[in-house]
Symmetry: C2
Subunit: 349 residues, 2 copies
Amino acid sequence: MTYQEAVSGQTILTGDRPTGALHLGHLVGSLRSRVKLQETHKQYILVADVQALTDNATDPQKISRNVREVVIDYLAVGIDPSKSTVVLQSAVPELAELTQYFLNLVSVTRLSRNPTVKMEIQQKGFNRSLPAGFLTYPVSQAADILAFKATHVPVGNDQLPMIEQTNEIARRFNQIYDVPLFTEVEAIVPRVGRLPGIDGQSKMSKSLNNSLHLSASANDIRAAVYAMYTDPQHIRVSDPGQIEGNVVFTYLDAFHPDDTLVEDLKVRYQRGGLGDMEVKRILEEVLQETLAPIRARRAEIASQPDSVMDILRRGTAVARKLTASTLDDVKAAMGLIDLKNGTKQWSKR
Amino acid sequence: MTYQEAVSGQTILTGDRPTGALHLGHLVGSLRSRVKLQETHKQYILVADVQALTDNATDPQKISRNVREVVIDYLAVGIDPSKSTVVLQSAVPELAELTQYFLNLVSVTRLSRNPTVKMEIQQKGFNRSLPAGFLTYPVSQAADILAFKATHVPVGNDQLPMIEQTNEIARRFNQIYDVPLFTEVEAIVPRVGRLPGIDGQSKMSKSLNNSLHLSASANDIRAAVYAMYTDPQHIRVSDPGQIEGNVVFTYLDAFHPDDTLVEDLKVRYQRGGLGDMEVKRILEEVLQETLAPIRARRAEIASQPDSVMDILRRGTAVARKLTASTLDDVKAAMGLIDLKNGTKQWSKR
């Protein structure tokens, strides 16, 4: 069986919360893989503005602004709208409707025990002021996944509880309404670890101010590389240096096309005799080469804001056919009254 | 100023959870008043199937069945679809979308403190298994009220916290997004107390088996009246009897058109010399007269199921124009991207 045969029929749902422009961490962690997956899979990419609002309700303008930026980022890195369907979450009412029905199938206790949500509540400093929309967002995420009939969802390890919650809802729905409507979804956990921030912090994030955006200028890139965390014990060129935790080498692993050259650099660095400046020069060159075409495409795309909105509009229209059909199936399975078509019985396949 | 002038511009949102056919308690508590209000007010009547599902998720067929019954009850008692707009909640996706945005404006703590919800949680025996949809239904109810731009909502005293929650959301939305979009809603608390069950229990309810449906047959009515709770100390006709807590007299007050006659009966009953059977005969006659035309209209309407669905369909279509316009305003106020019309700024009036 070829790979193409093995994955035929697989549907991927992926996406981003548009809280900021995308950065190198996204390129390594998800964007590159989406560009590959769109060649073999049906792929929906959700710009999750509604989910972003669950903890940004007081600053919705930020979210809307970044919807455009994120779509431009997608197109600039090679997401092809004829192969991937890019969808605006807030323009798909069926997701809100499915959420509304799924909320009845999940207990408050179950939601408050979701490890991802617990961790995020702590990180964001919510306490008694926890917005109800934030507590319930795993249900909304399950609605996204099930609405698109996704079979595979790429997630980091920390997001696995979200997939569990989705599958619980899928099973519970099928069981209560006695229909084989939803199939369980599989997580795709990327082999590549998360790209650290330029300061060596485990996570590249806008709030930590340690990220390098896909739109970074040549000067931004240079400044970032030269500010990059290396081995603080590696003071003289002749000293042996450490590779572990050395961000420059982590980035070389992630971005340099020539593995042999990178291995050679590592040996020389560890032995002593290779200076940080020399390694950084090589990394800067690679990053400039990686980001220059993305930056150029970004500028070109950004100059046609209407076509960006058009791509989002067309993708969303395609998506709505699917989500409306899922919602129809859900309402039929529950025996709800359908004013449009008359109440149907869900045909048990 | 005439009454008509005073109420011009007032919009009423009212409705029922379709968990069972309507009964005499509804007739006295809300239906009669709706029939009057439709002459002077814009009135939307919501058949709240989505809300009914928040604690009936495992039995949705019951809800769908009762949607039809409830609409037939409305028409039978004199709700006129050319004057009142009858709307099916699950067919108005904008309500789910508004709920989704409002959930971000209410804290989990605030929801768990809602006195009505707390009481209902206790009554229904939810505990750790409290469905998330049930905890959050006051937000969905606020979305209903605000979506319809209702100015007045008829509610029992026990539902006043729901109006408070709605007004909190209205204020918070206007404040956060700096728009005067929502105006606060006023509760209309009926002067007539709640009609007791035929057994003298404070509440007429299907689960207590102490109700008399609007569709009751002549025999049902007779049986109910003769089983009705009176004064247990009133054994012989010549004994003085009590009026307080005597369901037969409460019903005479609610249904007999001739107040003077009822006052006269009360005097004779309290003095002694008026037997329960005689009073019950009078009440039965009144109830038979009250329910016979309703029963006849019910049967006529029920024989045209398509026209019932058509009324619901047309009312829902009218409603959706309004709710879609509110949703557009909400999204514009938040500055969300509008793929249909391009992003608008909410015009501050």
